[in-house]
């Protein structure tokens, strides 16, 4: 992606810390743990949606239109992920009927996560996967595709995103 000489940089760590804190912030104000988690998830996903839309528009500024859904998903796996995390999605699977599974084997935002009891980490990491889900959904929707995105965390730092086209 061509950038002008006036590109401005943001510190990577600052961005990571901001997102970490946003997740905790979103969990405030609710009484039960389940409510907290659901509400935080929904809010973060909405946030991600908006950010993803803008980011995708910016990233595809100079590109021609995409031929089909597969091209769009490949764009997400390669260029979009490269823009966000400096790496590509490691594995893409599809059933050719509108369901795609993207696997990132060392998801950047999960790479330093660890809970007190190692087994609980995937569960706690799920809330942090809301924002990336929203990012993907937002990017897809700004490229003209309506979808739903769900994340699964089997073991940190690996993360799997499942895209279902509607």
């Amino acid at each position: 992606m061509a950038e002008t000489a006036q590109q401005r940089f943001v510190c990577d760590s600052a961005m990571d810390f901001l997102l970490m804190e946003t997740v905790s912030l979103m969990q405030e104000g609710f009484d039960s743990i389940d409510e907290e988690r659901d509400a935080a998830y929904a809010r973060m996903e909405q946030l991600g949606h908006r950010v993803g839309m803008g980011l995708a528009e910016r990233a595809t500024r100079d590109r021609p239109r995409f031929a089909d859904n597969l091209e769009v998903v490949k764009f997400i796996c390669k260029d979009f992920w490269l823009l966000l995390f400096n790496k590509q999605i490691d594995n893409l699977k599809t059933n050719h009927r509108g369901v795609y599974v993207l696997t990132d084997s060392s998801f950047k935002w999960f790479s330093r996560m660890s809970a007190d009891v190692a087994a609980e980490t995937p569960q706690l990491a799920l809330v942090h996967s809301a924002f990336p889900c929203g990012l993907i959904r937002g990017a897809l929707s700004s490229l003209g595709v309506s979808s739903s995105v769900v994340a699964e965390v089997a073991a940190v730092p690996q993360c799997t995103f499942q895209i279902k086209f509607r």
């Binding site: 760590s13 810390f17 330093r112 996560m113 660890s114 809970a115 007190d116 980490t121 942090h128």
Partner: protein, 151 residues
Amino acid sequence: MTVHSIHIFNKKCECIYFAEWNAKADASKKDKLEPAAEEKDVDGDPETAKLVYGVVFSLRNMANKLSNQGFRSYKPGTYKLHYFESPAGPKLVLITDPNAPNMADTLQSIYANVYVEHVVKNALVKPNTPIRNQLFRTTLDKYVRSLPNFE
């Protein structure tokens, strides 16, 4: 050279982490050879921690008044205590046998490579609480065991 133990204190003077290697021969209390997962007292003996903190605090103030450099280590007959204070907050105290060389670099790299990576950057950890996460514990353990003269 062996490393005996490490304490980490946060800015509120609480001991947020304690680990021990090679339990000393004259240890009369429980035999904690390795930071095991099921220990209920993962922060070690709170009294010892307070004593250590007190010693370190007094020595640090005294050294600051006497010289520009600040307190780094002291050595009575049977052990050597190394101290590292990061500008941001936590203080690391390392206790080794008396023949240890200057461990300031080691402590600095423990702070930068282990503490910052696995505690500060960990989304699931609230700051200033006792550190109990597995990744930090295993990384620290591996790091200390990989030191050149560790036995």
